[in-house]
């Protein structure tokens, strides 16, 4: 009986960890996205420093959109247990 309870507990912990692993996988895409986005923005700012203000604003808008995807995964990892 005790062993059974232990196995069930281990199973619950394993499932909870699985959602965390899922979030880790889900973070790859937005991570790549923000990497490309900021890299390109810095590149353009280095090429044309006089447009840095506009580029920085648009960079943050883009980061906001991309980041939302990763954060959906984060919230769902808590909700789906």
């Amino acid at each position: 009986m005790g062993a059974l309870v232990g196995m069930v507990q281990a199973g619950i912990v394993a499932v909870a960890s699985l959602s965390v692993v899922g979030y880790g996988i889900a973070a790859i895409g937005p991570g790549l996205g923000i990497g490309f986005l900021v890299g390109k923005a810095v590149e353009s700012m280095a090429r044309q420093p006089e447009t840095a203000g506009v580029i920085r604003t648009n960079m943050f808008i883009g980061i906001g959109f991309v980041e939302a995807l990763a954060l959906f995964g984060f919230v769902l990892a808590f909700i789906a247990k």
Binding site: Q9, A10, V75
Partner: protein, 264 residues
């Protein structure tokens, strides 16, 4: 045996239950929902009070050459007006500067509560706050669009963008409806919420971990590392608080610009 391996012996990791505060004083039941005053509500009032006091204190008797508090608050207003509104919306967005400034400052104060010693709870890490603010922004940009273009003009602009061959509207109209009307307030609020939850959990886990590692003295070396990283993360959370307030405000401005623009 497996259970022993998985059990974290004695260490209680922080969970989302740490965001639920007990009631202070009486609580009412409104349509089955539990309404009462707790730490979250008190901090929300405190954030509102700080915003009101700072703005009234700075601009009640404005001087031509600003000093002290007025100087600081003028930097905030100038940042929102020149850095966000004029750059994203243009001159037609100037009537919305007061709302966006208040929004920026309120979100920032609410976020910064997460790292102020003694308070240490970000107000925006409960869904009610960011969702209400996002719905306010949603009403704002829709009303602005309707007032600018009329019901028919605004609906046509949002749902039937020009320059699309008409059979494509079968595909485009539902997508535009979902992305503009439904998804916008959700992403706006979830972005702020999840950032604040993540930041608070991160700080909690490092400082709870520090306390836990100090107890058997053999691991106190790791406690030093945990404490150091936690302290660095406090500075990082200050950066995140400002960044999230900025992103919340700038996205509201972007939605406003989309509703106010003539062509889509």
């Amino acid at each position: 045996m497996i259970g022993l391996i998985f059990a974290r012996a004695g260490f209680k990791a922080p969970t989302t239950q740490d965001f639920v505060w007990p009631c202070i004083g009486p609580h009412l039941s409104i349509f089955g929902a539990n309404a009462c005053i707790n730490k979250e509500v008190l901090l929300m009032f405190l954030a509102g009070l700080i915003v009101v006091v700072l703005f009234i204190g700075a601009f009640r008797k404005p001087k031509l050459v600003p000093t002290g508090l007025q100087n600081f608050m003028e930097v905030v207003v100038d940042f929102v007006q020149n850095g966000i509104v004029l750059e994203v919306v243009g001159r037609q967005g100037l009537p919305y500067v007061p709302y966006l400034t208040t929004l920026f400052f309120f979100v920032f104060v609410g976020n910064v509560f997460g790292i102020i010693p003694g308070l240490q709870f970000p107000v925006n890490s409960r869904m009610a706050m960011p969702l209400f603010l996002a719905l306010l922004s949603w009403v704002l940009f829709n009303v602005a669009g309707v007032r600018r273009h009329g019901w028919g003009g605004y609906t046509k602009m949002v749902l039937f963008p020009s320059g699309v061959p008409w059979p494509m509207y079968i595909l485009v109209t539902p997508i535009e409806f979902v992305s503009t009307i439904i998804v916008r307030p959700i992403t706006l609020s979830v972005r702020l919420l999840a950032n604040m939850i993540a930041g608070h959990l991160l700080l909690t886990i490092f400082f709870v971990g520090t306390a836990y590692l100090l107890q058997p003295s053999i691991t106190s070396l790791f406690a030093v590392a945990s404490f150091t990283l936690g302290t660095i993360l406090v500075a990082f959370e200050l950066f995140v608080a400002g960044l999230q307030a900025y992103i919340f405000t700038i996205l509201t401005a972007v939605y406003l610009a989309g509703a106010l623009s003539m062509e889509h």
